[in-house]
Amino acid sequence: MTQASSLSRINRRNGLLFCLPWLIGLSVFLIYPLGAALYYSLCDYSVLLPPVFIGLDNYTDLANDPLFWKSLGNTAYFAFGSVSLGLLVSLGLALLLNTKVKALGLYRTIFFLPSLMPVVASSILWMWMYNGQSGLINTALHAVGINGPAWLADPVWAKPAIVLMSVWGAGNAMVVYLAGLQDVPTSLYEAAIIDGAGFFQRLIHITLPMISPVIYFNVVLSVISGFQAFTQAFIMTGSTGAPERSTLFYVLNLYNVGFQDLRMGYASAMAWVLFVIILLVTWAATKLSQRFVTYDR
């Protein structure tokens, strides 16, 4: 008995030893920064000088900061805009690519390829596409008699332009949807066809319920990355979120406050607020998923 328990103790110790690199990594790179950021969010901290504890001042200042609300609004617009549009496009593409057509592999590769491009490179590419005078989009619009806007310089169009650009990376979600679609038993479709169900009836009553876990997965991931939007705006419209702060996203604002103004305590408070927001949105999505997602097979 003693030997058995000491053996299990040894096994536990060895197990812990093998886990140690991961545990160290988790502690050093995740738990400590999270805790430190929480502490600094309660301090006036300029990075270069020791933090001075100021209680909840940063959080109360945040609540009264119009830029905080502006950037939060912009980010929510982007997150929900890009998630909805991304869902439609990637699911639509996956449905199209789930059919039996010639050179299917080629199409799949073509639609997946853009998502492999780094965000910085694709942002620069889209800056040219959106060029008000000689951009591809305005040239195409001009051909059909529409005088396109100066997309990224126009406060009305800059944000929708960045949302529209997010579709460029739909390939990743498309592959996941495709995998989900191929997992739907064909017998269900056969039965539905025998019952006289059309394409849309099959889509609504079979396809969507059957791939609902995949949709849930993609939506949650997209919402999280949507709230973290930074690179597109930083590259395409600059760190000020021009024009008229229409592209000042939350993380961009956080970056300005933390790394340009050296108000790292305030930036830490912003980071924690974002963390809680993402947590709440994910929780809400999970709650919703209990009603709409089916894991039955």
């Binding site: 270069l48 008000g132 005088n147 340009q260």
Partner: protein, 487 residues
């Protein structure tokens, strides 16, 4: 037997665990030993060399210019060591770092800064207030640093709250730069650039061209702002002047009307009447040309340092530009006929003549520099007239020194370099406000300028909002600063 086996298993498992633990420990010790030994061997290779790292913001020709100075310094140090075997020579290793104004702070905060850094003068106040710099005054005093050798405006850029934190090395100023061919085509005398803002506006109208489509579909060129022609019938092809081309100094147009963004160090004065007047002048171009027209026209421009830039491609006839414009012209539009003149002043304020934006590149020693004395030696060398002239000639700028050699003037390729230098000595030379909240202030001004140019808000209201917000930010920062400095 079973018990024996179990006992043996137990012992072997214990041994195995011990072995694992010992192996892990050995691995850690070995890694540490390797690190130490490699550090020792690095030190052992050149025991007497004093190696210092220097972060520089420029790449391209400006960086190559500084390479020349670094090479000369290293050669001089090597020669010294050759003459005197007891002398440990200093070797400067220059590294180009983009976004240095932010990365340097992070490096300082991380406790691993370079020994020396080449930065912009506008960061000095914020860096000094955050305790990110080594004060240069005492070190420079030892080497006999004489601030009267410098053009007063530039040496002041390195000073803040009565102390010296940085030394200017490559200054610049701005002037009105005109395209002489476009002047001649518009019937203007290319040798007579505008002197007042009113003249500039009048010239700009004459230099603005549209492609107009008449009712029968025929296209022809017309000059002026053409308010009577509907927007869908005209396409802007050339413009006389745009306040946001280039857009680097949009925050500072009030300076040209006698305004200042900061009064002293504690009062934000964004909404002063002179600043409002300056931004009303900026808005007047949006009113004359049309907000959407300007946006579309500007989106066709390339980068400032490219042949497609607004001025180099001949799309904008007059721009405010810096000393370095000659280099861009030489490289991207070698045949361009151009000239430079002091930027115009409002006719009712002749005392504002020769207003110029004058900032500088500076050398600074970050807090925590491992070799501050050696870095100061390099600063001392780089501040000699010979080194500064070599650097500024290669960068096509003028030096920050009062004294200039005849060889420098003779060798300088920019035909207007004397003008740029004289402007920097004007009493109306202005620089970016020296305040720790400049980054935030600049972003607020950028947003206000957006609203003003898009005719969304009158300048008085937009600037008043910035003033209120930035005064609060300055007060907040001062309060925090006092709290940080409190024992």
């Amino acid at each position: 037997m079973k018990g024996l086996f179990r006992a043996r298993d137990h012992r072997s498992a214990t041994r195995c665990g011990r072995r694992l633990g010992a192996t892990a420990l050995l691995a850690i010790i070995a890694c540490a030993a390797l690190g130490v030994s490699s550090a020792c061997s690095r030190n052992g290779d050149k025991p007497t060399l004093r190696h210092i790292t220097y972060w520089e913001k420029w790449n391209g020709f400006e960086s190559e210019a500084m390479d020349l100075v670094v090479a000369d310094f290293n050669a001089q140090e090597a020669a010294h060591a050759k003459r005197d075997p007891n002398y440990a020579p200093i070797e400067v290793e220059k590294v180009t770092v983009s976004k240095i104004e932010q990365k340097l702070l992070i490096a300082i905060a991380g406790g691993n800064p370079p020994d020396l850094a080449g930065n912009y003068s506008f960061v000095v106040a914020a860096y000094a207030d955050h305790g990110a710099l080594t004060e240069l005054g005492p070190m420079l005093a030892k080497s006999g640093f004489d601030r009267s050798r410098y053009i007063e405006h530039y040496v002041r850029l390195g000073e803040y709250r009565g102390r010296t934190w940085a030394v200017p090395i490559a200054p610049a100023s701005t002037a009105l730069v005109i395209n002489k061919r476009l002047f001649a085509e518009a019937g203007l005398d290319p040798e007579k650039p505008p002197i007042t803002i009113e003249e500039l506006d009048a010239f700009a109208e004459k230099l603005t061209k549209w492609e107009v489509t008449s009712a029968d579909g025929h296209k022809h060129i017309e000059t002026g702002y053409l308010p009577e022609v509907p927007a869908e019938q005209k396409r802007l092809v050339q413009v006389g002047f745009l306040p946001n081309e280039p857009s680097w100094w949009m925050f500072g147009w009030g300076d040209f009307f006698g305004g200042r963004l900061l009064q002293g160090t504690d009062t934000v004065s964004t909404a002063s009447p002179a600043n409002v007047r300056g931004f009303e002048w900026v808005a007047s171009y949006s009113q004359k040309l049309g907000v959407g027209v300007i946006k579309r026209f500007r989106s066709g421009f390339g980068n400032s340092s490219s042949p497609q830039s607004a001025f180099l491609s001949g799309k904008v006839a007059m721009v405010m530009h810096g000393t370095w414009i000659h280099n861009f012209i030489e490289k991207y539009a070698p045949g361009l006929a151009w000239s430079a003149a002091p930027f115009p002043y409002p006719a009712d304020h002749p005392e504002l003549a020769r207003t110029t934006r004058a900032d500088a590149d500076v050398l600074m020693i970050p807090k925590g520099s491992a070799h501050p004395e050696e870095a100061a030696r390099f600063i001392e060398y780089a501040s000699t007239q010979a080194a500064l002239e070599k650097l500024c000639l290669a960068q096509q700028k003028f030096t920050p020194l009062m004294s200039v050699s005849e060889d420098f003037w003779r060798a300088h390729p920019n035909p207007y370099i004397r003008l740029f230098r004289e402007l920097s000595m004007s009493e109306n030379a202005v620089s970016i406000p020296r305040t720790e909240i400049w980054n935030e202030y600049n972003r607020e001004l950028g947003n206000a300028t957006d609203l003003i140019q898009n005719l969304k808000e009158p300048p008085s209201r937009a600037l008043a909002r910035v003033q209120t917000k930035m005064q609060a930010a300055l007060d907040r920062d001062r309060k925090l600063l006092a709290r940080r400095e409190a024992p």
